[in-house]
């Protein structure tokens, strides 16, 4: 009996190649997309889980409010950990990690590499985090000030192997490190990243203090729930810190679970940009959408086709088939197709995986797909869809009275098939609602990306080459370097600064005229040279730029942005006094000589914050060159020569400023790409379904069309007749989709302090697009049927 079912199923498949293929392909593409997204989401959710004690690890974060502004940092002061540990017996282990702000150039024999991944940590890092060592002993690896643990990749890079304990690396700045451990590379799914691990003992004497919040501090508790005990103690802890201090800012620390960092933490000084749980939700919704569309199709086409099987049901019943046997047959058939779709989905997956990895910045392998959970999910969804899709024909058809089915050559519209018509129409509307929402969503997203790309940032990010000054030597030779580079004809301007726009600018302490004695505030402060404003294309709205020839400009002058003047309430900022006191015994006092128009030195997610700029050569870490347009490659080679001439043996590191800017929106851009791809897929699947349904509808009306034609209907009017219903459905879908799309787009745009408007014309445009696609899809079949010979159509009956 089973083989009979299988035979009928396969022959049916072969006979209705178009329908069956649409069915299977649509479902498999939906399944495949859904699976990819699930994989991506799982990946995002797996961050930091490689740590054995992940659930009990917390990060200490600082929060303070000054002058009504809340600031939250991912790091705390170095003295915080011993202080908290002393008063909290629940803490099993704690570690401070300090990121080396400057890249460091390390040498082994005649090779040198710029290492950006050097951090310093307490030796207890191995008690908190799970960092497996291939060589070396975690108990002693960081006990020596000169100790250095490197990861596998770094070890291979310098030494060509991993068995390298005891070898020595020297920094071009003079320090020397002895390799005491080789650890496995940190997995991609880690909120922090480093390649070299030095000991905090190497830090300068007096590093443990309360002055600067620069230490990523983690504690491991005996059990996760003990965190409440510590949280309750925090107010007392903080109170103890400020004992006797009347003018303290509102300060607090908070504990963030390690596992929440990647998706939920977006505060200052993050180790690196984290993921965003909102995007997880968005992608999850898209995955669900795609799957629903594909399932809708599958059910739609299955039920539509089922009516054609009525006669077979009748015959089988006459031959003695029981209802349960028929239900089994139809469900089985549907499951078989769904199973084929699942297998096809796996095949498609293996083909598109490399492209997806590139798109999403992941590194999945096909083996990841073959995990039992993934497979269970895939086949679970497939079988579920198959069951759902099969149950309608199974239960609906199996109640047919054979006498009725066999006598009349076509099945009359009774109540239940009217219900099925309504169901099919609703499913089509549902599909198009989803497609239109995705179309509008994608349009809004791409417009916002475009807006960010083209927005006037207040500085000119094009054609700026940035050279990091990673070595002491390069910083010492900065004036000479700048002079020599400026002599090159392609270099139009050069400027040294602490950082470039697009990177994080630090908050440093300062006092402004009119500030009350009790408060201490830090402001985003940027050390620049006199060429910074013109080189970056910043615009002055009042006063003047620094002048290298005026001595007091480097010792007693500040330039602020408009936001600063607004924040401190200066109506007339010029001449107002300011004191810069970061890590200074006696503050640098001076006055404001200029105000620059606000420029977007951070991402457009945030409003422009107050900024102070001053000349402070000790902090110069990058040299930016504005290049003339032309042959960049040969210019770079020539600049490299100049560099090597002055700084022999030091690598010529460089990047372009607009790349930094691009990186700020990498998440949005990759989301935009993913969105576009999946939107196209959704529309494709929906159209596939529409094509199938319209073909089916046209076929069902062959006789009606034959009669109409004999009575004189034209091809055009018949095509209209056949397309009309679907057009109405698409219009209805539009009306439903618009509010949903508007709501979603508006909510997403709230993420940006600077955003493009949602243009009203996007909506009718999306509607028109959907309509056009639907019309094109439907009319292919409609025209074909309308042009057929009517005699044939009638004889067919």
């Amino acid at each position: 009996m089973f083989s009979n079912y299988l035979l009928v199923a396969l022959r049916n498949f072969a006979r209705n190649k178009v329908f069956s293929s649409i069915n299977v392909i649509g479902l498999s593409v939906g399944l495949c997309s859904c699976l990819l997204i699930v994989l991506f989401i799982n990946d995002e959710l797996s961050y930091d889980r490689q740590n054995e004690h992940a659930e009990s690890i917390y990060r200490l974060e600082s929060r303070y409010v000054a002058d009504g502004q809340e600031r939250r940092w991912a790091a705390v002061q170095s003295a915080m950990l011993p202080y908290v540990q002393e008063q909290s017996p629940e803490v099993v282990a704690g570690v401070r990690i300090q990121r080396n702000l400057n890249p460091v150039i390390l040498r082994y024999e005649d090779q040198s590499f710029t290492e950006t991944g050097l951090v310093f940590a307490d030796s207890s890092i191995f008690d908190v985090f799970t960092l497996p060592l291939i060589h070396g002993d975690p108990a002693t690896a960081l006990n020596d000030p000169a100790a250095l643990v490197v990861d596998e990749t770094t070890a291979r890079k310098f030494f060509g192997g991993v068995d390298v304990l005891g070898k020595t690396l020297t920094s071009v700045n003079g320090a020397s490190f002895k390799i005491t451990g080789v650890m496995r590379d940190l997995p991609r799914q880690s909120h922090f990243h480093f390649t070299c691990l030095g000991s905090t003992q190497l830090l300068p004497e007096g590093w443990i203090n309360w002055s600067i919040s620069d230490y990523y501090t983690y504690i491991r508790l005996q059990a996760p729930e003990q965190v409440t005990a510590i949280e309750e103690r925090i107010p007392a802890l903080v109170e103890g810190l400020f004992e006797g201090q009347a003018n303290r800012s509102e300060y607090s620390i908070r504990l963030r679970p390690l596992l929440d960092i990647h998706l939920y933490s977006h505060i200052e000084k993050e180790f690196r940009p984290n993921g965003n749980v909102a995007y997880i939700y968005i992608l999850g919704v898209i995955a669900a959408f795609l799957l629903i569309i594909a399932c809708f199709n599958y059910m739609n086409l299955s039920t539509a086709r089922a009516v054609r099987r009525a006669r077979e049901v009748g015959i089988r019943k006459v031959m003695g088939a029981r209802r349960t046997q028929l239900i089994q047959q139809f469900l089985g058939e549907s499951l078989l197709l769904a199973l084929m779709a699942a297998l096809l989905a796996l095949l498609i997956l293996s083909l598109v995986l490399p492209e997806f990895n590139e798109l999403a910045g992941t590194s999945f392998s096909f083996a990841d797909m073959l995990q039992i959970e993934q497979l269970a999910l895939l086949f679970g969804i497939a079988l579920g869809t198959g069951l759902l899709a099969g149950s309608y024909p199974a239960f609906f058809l199996s109640v047919f009275r054979p006498a009725a089915v066999l006598k009349g050559s076509s099945v009359r519209l009774n109540n239940s098939s009217r219900f099925s018509l309504l169901l099919r129409r609703s499913l089509v509307v549902g599909q198009f609602v989803i497609s239109i929402v995705l179309i509008i969503g994608t349009a809004v997203l791409l417009r916002q990306l475009n807006f960010m790309q083209s927005k006037n940032l207040g500085y000119n990010k094009e054609q700026v080459l940035v050279l990091p000054l990673s070595s002491i030597e390069s910083r010492q030779k900065l004036p000479l370097l700048k002079e020599r580079l400026l002599q090159h004809s392609a270099v139009n301007a050069a400027t040294a600064s602490f950082e470039v726009p697009g990177k994080r600018l630090p908050y440093l302490g300062g006092r402004f005229e009119g500030q009350s004695e009790e408060t201490s505030i830090s402001w985003r402060t940027l050390a620049v040279d006199a060429d910074f404003l013109p080189a970056m294309g910043l615009q002055l709205v009042a006063g003047r730029n620094f002048d290298a020839a005026v001595g007091s400009d480097s010792s007693a002058a500040f330039i602020v942005n408009e936001a600063f003047a607004r924040a401190v309430g200066w109506e007339e900022p010029l001449g107002k006094s300011y004191e810069y006191d970061f890590r200074l015994d006696s503050p640098k006092s001076g006055s404001v000589i200029g105000v620059v128009k606000d420029f977007h030195y951070a991402s457009l997610h945030q409003a422009v914050e107050p900024l102070v700029m001053h000349i402070w050569p000790a902090h110069y870490r990058v040299l930016s060159l504005r290049l003339a347009r032309g042959d960049i490659q040969s210019t770079l080679a020539q600049l490299d020569d100049i560099w090597q001439d002055l700084l022999p043996g030091l690598p010529f590191e460089h990047f372009f400023l607009d790349e930094t800017y691009e990186r700020l929106y990498q998440k949005e851009r990759s989301l935009g790409q993913i969105f576009s791809v999946f939107t196209l897929l959704a529309i494709g699947i929906a159209c596939l379904g529409l094509f199938g349904l319209s073909a089916f509808a046209a076929e069902q009306r062959t006789r009606e069309i034959g009669i109409r034609k004999i009575l004189g209907a034209s091809t055009g009017s018949l095509s209209y007749l056949l397309s009309r219903e679907f057009i109405i459905l698409v219009v209805v879908a539009n009306l439903l989709a618009w509010p949903i799309a508007w709501y979603g787009a508006d909510a997403w745009l709230q993420n940006f302090a600077y955003r493009s408007a949602i243009d009203w014309y996007l909506f009718p445009l999306a509607a028109f697009g959907a309509l056009l696609i639907a019309l094109a899809t439907v009319s292919v079949r409609a025209i074909k049927i309308a042009m057929a010979n009517p005699v044939k159509a009638l004889r067919h009956e």
Binding site: M1, L7, R15, I315, A321, R323, R401
Partner: protein, 229 residues
């Protein structure tokens, strides 16, 4: 074998009520060949469906092989039907996706007959209907007469007591029609009861008895060799 008493069948839609059968009384004995005649819409097919256990009467009694079946559930009817009744239709009603062999085999599948026995019986039936050479073809590849021979083979494969034929010659030319009537007569002579609906007085002549229906009533019963009112 068949005893029907006061059979009524009423079809109801939202607006109209149609009486298809009106107090039909009928008795058919084992081995009989009965033809049912009457104009379109007189209730022939309705009567055949009820006699064939495809439908229940609205009221009245129906005894089939000593079972009172008028109140049987669909499932019980199906069980009784598949062992005792074979059907032949005007439009053949073969399953397009199955070959000749597989179509004929179908009733045996629902009777859970073993594979080897099925093969043997199907081959024998095909042989009997002289259609063996076509057994791997699909229905669309056959002529109407051939299709009907397949349908008859399918109807007799389960060795039913009764064959119900609903205008078995209606879609056939006279040569093929005669052929099918010959087969039915042979089956009847071998002991199978046959009830046949037909429009053709000539083919009705093959039967022992002809029942004339009009507007749901039996108006006359015509035995071979004389009228009987």
């Amino acid at each position: 074998m068949i005893k029907a008493k006061d059979l009524n069948k009423v079809y109801r839609t939202d607006e109209v009520e149609t009486t298809a059968l009106n107090n039909v009384n009928l008795e058919i004995k084992e081995g009989e060949f009965v033809a049912i005649m009457g104009p379109s819409g007189c209730g022939k097919s309705t009567l055949l469906n009820i006699l064939g256990l495809l439908d229940n009467p609205s009221s009245g009694e129906y005894h089939f092989l000593d079972h009172e079946v008028s109140g049987y559930s669909e499932r019980k009817r199906a069980d009784l039907r598949k062992q005792n009744i074979g059907f032949v239709f005007q439009s053949f009603n073969l399953i397009d996706e199955l070959t000749v062999f597989e179509n004929v085999e179908l009733p045996l599948l629902y009777l859970s007959v073993s594979s080897s026995e099925r093969k043997e019986r199907v081959n024998a039936a095909l042989e009997q209907m002289q259609i063996t050479h076509r057994k791997n073809h699909f229905p669309q590849q056959l002529s109407g007469g051939q299709q009907q021979r397949v349908a008859v083979a399918r109807a007799v494969i389960a060795k039913p007591h009764l064959i119900l034929a609903d205008e078995p010659t209606g879609n056939l030319d006279s040569t093929h029609g005669d052929e099918v009537m010959k087969i039915l007569t042979d089956l009847n002579e071998a002991g199978t009861s046959i009830i046949m609906v037909t429009h053709s007085p000539a083919y009705a002549e093959y039967a022992h008895r002809t029942i004339n229906l009009f507007d749901g009533h039996i108006v006359t019963e015509n035995f071979k060799g004389g009228f009987h009112v």
